[in-house]
Amino acid sequence: MLRLIVRRLLQGIPLLLGVIIINFLLIKLVPGTLLDVMTAEQQVTDPAMIERLRHLYGMDQPAWIQLLKYIGSVMQLDLGFSYRQNMPVLDVILAHLPATLILMLTSIAIAVLVGVSAGVLSAIRVNSFWDTLISALAVLCFAAPSFWLGIMMIIFFSVKLGWFPVGGMETIGANLGPWGQVLDIAHHLVLPALALGLFYAATYTRVMRASMLEVWQMDFVRTARAKGLSRPRVIIGHTLRNALLPVVTLLGLQLGTVLGGSVVIETVFSWPGIGQVLFDSVMTRNYPVVLGVLVLSSLLVILINIVVDVVYSRLDPRIRSH
């Protein structure tokens, strides 16, 4: 197991290097620079001032030197300085990352819980009213754009019913104490986590249903049933455990897209996550922040996939033996 983890971490190094180089080149290839944006925002008219800013941002050097310097500083665990935010890139990211992680992890938890439960229910009641209803809801959640779903939820649950706040992560200015704050964040989290999580729950429902039906036909399940095991034990102990493998695989693959999806949901719900920063940084060609976010998120995806690999091998002993 330790060898697996070390191997995965080592495989991550060239991946991170690739992420840096490709994204650096992409930002350099598109027209416009941070200097164009910053001088426009600051209404700079003096050519000497433009040159001063160009030097300050390190943009008076060739692109390949900028890239090498950046890689060198990342190797020293320094993600650089963002002149746009006037603070170190790591501080910019750390100010937003916790909110994104809370949203991502809660959404994934909702997606897995709802998706697996609905998929199992749909499979054990195949072709019934429940199966049809779940399938229809899954199609709806899959087809509806998450930003639209989010806005509809805000209008219905926040504006009309007043059950949940319109946006944000916590009640501003409230002095609630530690547990009160946790509950307050949870209250704010319900709608954005549902809007993001239901899309993935729909996918898991469909995959889980198909996987359950497939495993249900297998010999070892028939044997378990012939041995007279109770129906819940056959479903949970034998079928579900084996049917979970595709969902776990899908989970590992989809983590990157959950991060992408959270960018949209963060905008709709004014969730103070990394999404807005990443969007703004791409639009302003603020490459230190773009690369910093991508390096850290790649690292995050690598780490979560290691966890998925471990879970995978726990679920299926055949993988461990390989």
Binding site: D36, E41, Q42, P47, I151, V268, G273
Partner: protein
């Protein structure tokens, strides 16, 4: 008088709500009646409370950006940092940190008398040394650009008096506008002197003299301001706490206004199509004041380095092919009016309607193009590259309309709608376009913000929102030079009228639509703004109804 002018005039001069509601009926703009009634409620707000405000844009990159940084940091910094003067929404200068600014007889020296007893938020005294430091090391060096080019010397005469010396006569309105403008905020010398102003960490937790002290900035969410108990304004601010919060999405801001989570949304917080619905709920009022010194326009810029559009008669012909009323009604949902010249109709001090205009007349456009020796051959006269700077979604739509409108008079258009960074580079650095759709905002004082679109010294490669068209006219340069030093206000006004006439004749850059800016607020909010530029208001007097 146009309906818009009439409305603004009423808002500025009338004291009774009834008269304003009646005015709204006269102008036929019934949706404003609630706002007008609210805007004239002059009671002093109750003391206390926390107010959440927002605006139609995103979070700033830093709370204060030396030299500007755009609307977002201007909004967040001006609650803490103040200027010497304020231009109110009747276009009258009001004292802020300066009690008076007086010119010498030759207008080459201005004496600034400072307010006494003002303290920085850290308890230090605000003195003349702070103003001298800012004048030389901040404004002239970084933020003012060419506006304070002629400033040669700044000297503290005593603790509360400063002399500013210039090498040419400086018009009084021009100087006061500059000092009351977006970029001339006062920083504490004792915290900034000897350090790099552009990257000072204090820019993210500024120390100022304003009604609000920096409290806490939760990145991605909001910034909290605490009441400055030692503020020089009597009894102000009225609130205990002010919060500027950001919603990244207009639909979410609309929901927050309706749900009461947001008290005030400045600078077009929701899409124009939402205004009527929100006002009809009875919870929200609309106000269009506070944008007198920051009027926005959408413009077309003709690159003088390119064939066809470098000819004045061709540019004039093309303007006859554009239906501005269609643009206003279709793209801006009626929230705007046709622009007449680079001096906007909302500029009650310098506007003149007496300029050449270009009515929508495609037949005349075709006729003028024929006369210019550009007849239609095989359904086409010539081809142009049209670049739409899509930092506003309306610009992309306008690009599509212009393509169709120019096609109708036989001009083939290759349209590119590009994002902000690309547009800035292609328009202002590479000059890579024939016609560009862009925007600019114009303060009341046209020098230098408006004039530098037309002067030869406004051509600075890489400097945005300047003369990117390459237009160069000795007549225009001489006229602007005169405006810059003319100290007689009436003569100066006449020169500015001449500027508008020449700009509207040569049409290198043409404002098409004066965009309407608006504020939406909960109906129990008082004193939404008394400033001519709402984004720079310190919100010292805002509060809840008693």
């Amino acid at each position: 008088m146009t309906p818009n002018l009439q409305r603004r005039r009423f808002l500025a001069l009338t004291a009774g709500g009834t008269a304003l509601v009646a005015a709204a009926k006269v102008t036929g703009i019934s949706f404003l009646s609630n706002a007008m009634a609210a805007s004239v409620e002059s009671e002093i707000p109750k003391r206390g409370g926390t107010m959440v405000v927002s605006w139609g844009g995103n979070e700033p990159q830093a709370l204060f950006v030396a030299g500007g940084g755009g609307s977002a940091p201007f909004q967040t910094s001006t609650k803490i940092l103040e200027r010497l003067l304020k231009l109110d929404n009747n276009l009258v200068f009001q004292p802020a940190l300066a009690e008076s600014i007086t010119p010498s007889a030759d207008f080459k020296r201005y004496t600034v008398k400072l307010r006494e007893g003002v303290k920085w938020h850290d308890g230090q005294d605000f003195t003349a040394d702070d103003v001298v430091f800012n004048a030389l090391d901040h404004w002239k060096a970084i933020s003012a650009g060419i506006a304070l080019k002629s400033l040669t010397h700044a000297e503290a005469v005593d603790a509360h008096t400063v002399n500013l010396d210039f090498d040419v006569p400086v018009p009084e309105f021009f100087l006061k506008s500059t000092l009351a403008g977006q970029y001339q905020l006062l920083l504490p010398k004792h915290l900034y002197a000897g350090k790099e102003i552009l990257t000072n960490p204090l820019n993210n937790r500024p120390v100022g003299t304003g009604p609000w002290k920096y409290g806490n900035w939760v990145r991605g969410s909001h910034v909290e301001y605490a009441r400055n108990e030692n503020y020089w304004g009597q009894g102000q601010p009225w609130l205990d706490k002010l919060i500027i919060r950001w919603w990244g999405d207009a639909a979410s801001r609309s929901a927050a206004l309706e749900a009461g989570e947001l008290s005030v949304g400045y600078s077009n917080p929701v899409s124009a199509s939402e205004i009527d619905r929100l006002v009809k709920t009875g919870k929200v009022v609309l106000d269009t004041r506070g944008y007198e010194n920051s009027a926005w326009t959408v413009s077309v810029e003709f690159n003088q380095r390119r064939d066809f559009v470098n000819r004045r008669e061709v540019r004039q012909a093309l303007l006859h092919a554009i239906d501005r009323n269609f643009i206003i009604n279709t793209i801006y949902f009626g929230r705007g009016k046709p622009a007449v010249s680079p001096i906007f109709s909302s500029n009650s001090l310098f506007f003149t309607p007496d300029v050449p205009t270009y009515s929508f007349d495609p037949e005349k456009a075709k006729q003028l193009l024929d006369q210019a020796g550009l007849p239609e051959k095989n359904g086409k006269r010539f081809t142009v590259n049209l670049l739409a700077a899509a930092w506003f979604e309306e610009n992309a739509k306008l690009g599509q309309y212009l393509k169709q409108a120019l096609n109708d008079v036989g001009i083939e258009v290759r349209l590119d709608s590009v994002d902000r960074a690309t547009a800035l580079k292609r328009i202002y650095s590479d000059y890579d376009y024939d016609i560009a759709v862009s925007n600019f905002t114009a303060p009341v004082e046209p020098v230098p913000t408006v004039t530098q679109f037309f002067t030869t010294d406004g051509i600075v490669k890489g400097a945005a929102f300047r003369n990117a068209t390459g237009y160069s006219s000795p007549q225009m340069d001489a006229l602007v030079a005169k405006i810059t030093v003319e100290t007689d206000e009436e003569k100066r006004k006449a020169l500015i009228h001449q500027f508008a006439q020449l700009a509207s004749t040569d049409v290198p850059i043409v404002p098409l639509v004066e965009m309407q800016s608006f504020t939406l607020a909960n109906k129990n909010v008082r004193n939404l703004t008394t400033d001519a530029n709402v984004q720079g208001t310190s919100l010292n007097d805002i509060g809840f109804a008693g």
